[in-house]
């Protein structure tokens, strides 16, 4: 079977082309570096099947980042390359194309973002370009699917012109020579998008805009999430699921072992979806009715910001702040992704150049960035006691995130590299790509969360039944009661935090804690250890020693912060 590589500069639409060709949906966004790991799928090529590989974007074939290292290595095992070229930025893109053509591998060019090029008044003579480069060139618009059929038909025509190795300077000269012959520009006025684009990176206009965007984003996520919970999910559980469960409850007899696992405790003779803590009551209610609506609303807004192209501008505005934490502006993107789920957040730290940066970024994400599931539960449980308690948790975590970054920057040897980053133009996201991406992320959440939550609730109930938690609670009670001021039973919840933080916060809900205790417990839970899924990714990204170091930082900082909160509040 043939290996076909999709290569090109970052943010030119490689992942969108990949999705079109394979039917496998991968996350594509409007900022460079969305694909940090290669994805592969298969496609039908005439009579044979071919393996298609979505390679991380590269500006050149010299290795300057981990993504480029992966790309160059993969080139050795490829049989053909689909070189995706941004038609609106031909000259710089051609630099990579020319380098690829020297590599003795058949190439076909997808001249992507063809629609934008037309709008920008850029005309490209495709026939002439084919002639000059000696390989097929097909104009495409990956997001709408235009040109994809022709691209597929012409993949067998991919060819490798005999070109001697050039120097870098010669490649740039050659690119300029080709541009001269194939491209003509029409003068036109700035579009509204370009004007907004420029305004949002200029400090004077950009900073107020950033505050506005963050405010709207926050309100929107809350609004959509609350509406979904209040008007859709809660009524479904209360009106349809509850009567069913009540019947099951009377069949199983309250108080029996099976009842306490499946249904849990009855609160005043009724099932309480938050407190009963049975597998089929709280176990289903937490992931589906409390967390899923927020996961949906968070990713809805995030997908829009990603595809619109706002995130790199935020990175520019925050570069200075991030430098104080040993990072640069780019590092805000993994942190934002971490607000959805820490797993993709930690994985996205790969876009950072140095090991030191990746360590700092991944560590402070796992400690100071609460995932959507955890946040949803905090809103649900702590929010009942008053918005200011939720505010205290967010503020504490935010301060921890910054202070810890600052401290790590001072302790660790080395310096943070400077920001060098492409800022993509704003593009209106297509409804289709956003809904696809949203669906993918929701399915991923349910697949990942539902089984672990159900299993977690099951195990917790069995452990309660076997009185295992009582033993642990007695052992750890000095720390829990003296330092954090929590009842010793809270240790069960904190232990469950290893599995899933949403379940853990749910358990806190059954303990009749004061508002202060809830704030401390939730903050400590957020900080003290990554959930199992994040732990695995940390391990993969950082290796054994750095993961252990990172965990040490987590344990110490959660002890300090929990103790401080207990003393101050």
């Amino acid at each position: 079977m043939k290996n076909i590589l999709i290569m090109g500069n970052p943010n030119v639409g490689k992942s969108a082309i990949f999705s079109r060709l394979t039917g496998i949906h991968v996350i594509a966004s409007n900022y460079p570096g969305t694909t940090v790991e290669f994805t592969q799928g298969t496609m039908q090529l005439k009579d044979e099947k071919a393996v298609l590989i979505d390679v991380p974007g590269t500006y050149g074939l010299e290795v300057t980042s981990k993504a480029e290292e992966i790309a160059v290595k993969m080139l050795e095992n490829g049989d053909a390359v689909i070189d995706v070229v941004d038609a609106t930025n031909l000259e710089r893109n051609l630099h990579l194309t020319l380098h690829l053509l020297e590599k003795n591998i058949p190439v076909i060019i997808a001249l992507n973002i063809w629609d934008d090029a037309k709008h920008k008044g850029i005309t490209i003579d495709v026939k002439k370009m084919e002639e000059l480069l000696g390989v097929p060139v097909v104009p495409t618009v990956a997001v709408t699917g235009e040109g994809i059929k022709e691209l597929v038909c012409r993949i067998p025509e991919a060819s490798s012109p005999e070109i001697a190795e050039r120097t870098e300077e010669q490649r740039w000269t050659e690119a300029a020579r080709i541009i001269d012959k194939v491209q003509s520009l029409q003068h036109r006025h700035h579009t509204a998008m370009e004007i907004i684009g420029d305004a949002s990176v200029k400090p004077l206009t950009g900073i107020p805009m950033a505050f506005l965007v963050m405010f709207v984003v926050f309100k929107l996520i809350r609004f959509v999430g609350e509406q979904l919970i209040g008007n859709v999910f809660e009524p479904i559980f209360e009106r349809l699921w509850k009567p069913l469960m009540m019947q099951l409850s009377s069949v199983l007899h309250p108080g029996s072992f099976l009842h306490s696992i499946v249904i849990g405790k009855l609160i005043e003779g009724e099932i309480d979806f938050v407190q009963s803590f049975g597998v089929l009551t709280t176990g289903l209610f937490v992931p589906i009715a409390m967390v899923l609506p927020y996961v949906f609303s968070f990713y809805l807004v995030l997908c829009f910001l990603e595809d619109f192209g706002y995130l790199p501008r935020l990175a520019v505005l925050l570069d200075n702040l991030m430098h104080r934490m040993g990072l640069h502006g780019w590092a805000i993107i993994p942190a934002l992704l971490g607000l959805g789920c820490n797993v993709p957040g930690v994985m996205a730290t790969r876009i950072l150049e140095s090991r030191r940066e990746r360590f700092i970024a991944a560590t402070i994400i796992s400690i100071g960035v609460p995932c959507a599931a955890l946040q949803a539960m905090i809103w649900g449980l702590v929010g009942e006691r008053g918005g200011r308690y939720v505010g205290i948790i967010y503020l504490s975590l935010f301060i921890v995130w910054i202070v810890l970054g600052r401290v790590l920057d001072m302790i660790l040897k080395g310096q943070s590299p400077e920001l060098i980053m492409e800022v993509p133009p704003y593009r209106l996201p297509s409804l289709q790509t956003i809904s696809k991406k949203l669906l993918m992320r929701m399915v991923a959440f349910l697949k990942e969360a539902l089984p672990i939550v159900l299993l977690g609730v099951l195990v917790v109930n069995i452990l309660y039944f076997l009185k295992v938690f009582d033993v642990i609670a007695n052992l750890t009670s000095p720390v829990i009661t003296n330092v954090f001021g929590l009842p010793k039973e809270a240790v069960a919840a904190i232990a469950v935090g290893f599995f899933r933080k949403d379940v853990a916060v749910g358990m806190l809900g059954t303990l009749n804690l004061t508002a202060k205790q809830l704030v401390i417990a939730a903050t400590v839970l957020a900080m003290f250890f990554p959930c199992i899924a994040t732990f695995v990714v940390l391990f993969k990204e950082l290796g054994v020693t750095d993961t252990l170091k990172s965990i040490l930082v987590m344990l110490i900082s959660s002890l300090v912060v929990g103790g401080l909160l207990n003393a101050i509040l």
């Binding site: 930025n89 710089r92 200029k202 520019v316």
Partner: protein, 79 residues
Amino acid sequence: MLERIPVADMKTGETGKVVEIFAGRGVHDRLRTLGIREGVKVTKVSAAFARGPVVLKVYGTQTALGYGISYKVIVEVER
């Protein structure tokens, strides 16, 4: 008159030709792959605020450069 200044000192909207880059190999290479190299025309889109990055337009795209680097890329401007 032609003047040689770092991009940090360019005015917003001003265009200049890159004449020299004082940076180590790593940074130099990364700048070059983004198209920022000697002989190329760049336009300043936005200036640094509180030691933040500057944004340049190079070829068809915008590139943000950290505050430190913005003093290492020297351009020739008509003043």
